[in-house]
């Protein structure tokens, strides 16, 4: 049941992250869009054309991976349930405590949840890299704001 929830959660997380795509597309990043700017220079007004900057990477990426903490939480719940399963409905913990390796119990309880968290993090890293790549390479030069950086924590924000 939990495994199903985790699988569904992963899909949901990936789907939610596509919010970036719609936000990015709304910025029309592949079009040359200019705006006219009036500036007072050398005692007279002149009009110049500047490319319209698209939104910052941080604002486009904000909250796209907000379901990752939920996945981590679910994995932690699964680990807890795995430990509980050795106490209920039977006390198979008694057998586990007689094993030579003290890590066997933890391996059985934590291996899948940790693997799952790593899968989720990997999906976020891959999708995040794709999004960043799109932002920097698909956008018309000059429309990217100066000094763009990515605050990873903002991608997790709700």
């Amino acid at each position: 049941m939990i495994a199903l929830a985790l699988a569904f959660g992963l899909l949901w997380m990936a789907a939610t992250s596509t919010a970036f795509l719609s936000r990015y597309r709304n910025q029309s990043p592949d079009e040359n869009i200019y705006r006219e700017v009036d500036t007072f220079w050398n005692g007279r007004w002149t009009t110049t054309r500047e490319p319209v900057k698209i939104a910052s990477l941080n604002s486009l990426m904000e909250g796209v991976f907000r379901l990752l903490p939920l996945q981590v939480l679910l994995a932690a719940v699964l680990a807890g349930m795995n430990y509980l399963s050795f106490y209920y409905p039977t006390r198979s913990i008694y057998v586990m405590k007689r094993l030579r390796s003290r890590w066997e119990l933890h391996r059985r309880c934590l291996a899948f949840p940790i693997f799952w968290i790593l899968v989720c993090v990997a999906v976020c890293v891959i999708l995040g890299s794709i999004y960043c790549h799109m932002y920097f390479h698909n956008t018309v030069p000059g429309r990217i704001p100066d000094g763009v950086s990515l605050n990873i924590w903002r991608t997790l924000a709700w």
Partner: protein, 244 residues
């Protein structure tokens, strides 16, 4: 040899569950542990198996019981300690992997004898069958010391009879069984030695042979030890009758 030296256990730091137990038993014995409910039988076993903390010393061939030598002890309990989702075949695989001395032939033989399905998760078996699985696993782990805590709860009389016979038949001379049960009469012919515990203290430790030599029975011995008054019920009934 398992040696217990002044083993004490308190629950919640207050209730005395074991009050200075001194006991030792070697390989090849079948020992019955008797006592009322709450006498400390299960606590004693769990302390030996390292499942509960305690004060005092418990040694296995002079060494403390740790992960290194704990596989020399097995435990079958009425609480059940099998893996409910695993089949008997999977249990065999797991035990063979983790307990190098796992007795595969004995396991298959016992499973076959009790007609236990190898391919069904143990949780889907009847309670009686689950009890059988529990005892079989304890017997087949390959341990030198087999601790059985009320293993026959829920077994019918025929099943219990079969188990007693099987125990006597399958055990090797080096295997020790430490059996906690209320079924004193039934196990009298099975055990070599009886240990009686009351309120966390050992009040009797005797060889069954010695009792028999005195022309008595284990039940009589236990009744005597516990000061059981056989006319207690009739006296009470007479009292109820006279008050009505």
């Amino acid at each position: 040899m398992v040696e217990l030296k002044n083993v004490r256990k308190k629950y919640n730091g207050q209730v005395d569950a074991l009050t200075g137990i001194d006991l030792s038993f070697g390989q090849g014995e079948i020992i019955g542990l008797f006592g009322e409910n709450g006498a400390g039988k299960t606590t004693l076993m769990k302390c030996i198996l390292g499942l509960l903390g305690y004060k005092g010393e418990i040694l296995l061939d002079g060494e403390p019981i740790t992960r290194k030598n704990i596989a020399r002890l097995s435990f079958g309990t009425c609480e059940h300690s099998f893996f409910p989702k695993m089949t008997l075949a999977e249990h065999a695989e797991f035990y063979a992997k983790h307990f190098p001395k796992f007795r595969q032939t004995r396991y298959q033989g016992l499973a076959e004898f009790f007609e236990l399905p190898l391919d069904r998760p143990v949780r889907t078996l009847s309670t009686g069958q689950q009890n059988q699985v529990e005892v079989i696993l304890a017997l087949c782990q390959g341990a030198d010391y087999i601790f059985l805590d009320e293993p026959f709860v829920g077994h019918d009389i025929f099943n219990r009879e079969d188990f007693y016979k099987l125990l006597l038949g399958v055990l090797e001379p080096t295997e020790t069984v430490f059996l906690s049960t209320h079924l004193i009469e039934e196990v009298e012919g099975l055990i070599d030695r009886a240990v009686m515990i009351r309120k966390g203290t050992i009040i009797g430790d005797v060889k069954v042979e010695e009792i028999e030599e005195q022309g008595s029975t284990l039940v009589e011995y236990v009744k005597q030890l516990y000061g059981y008054k056989s006319d207690r019920v009739s006296q009470s009934l007479a009292k109820f009758g006279s008050t009505e």
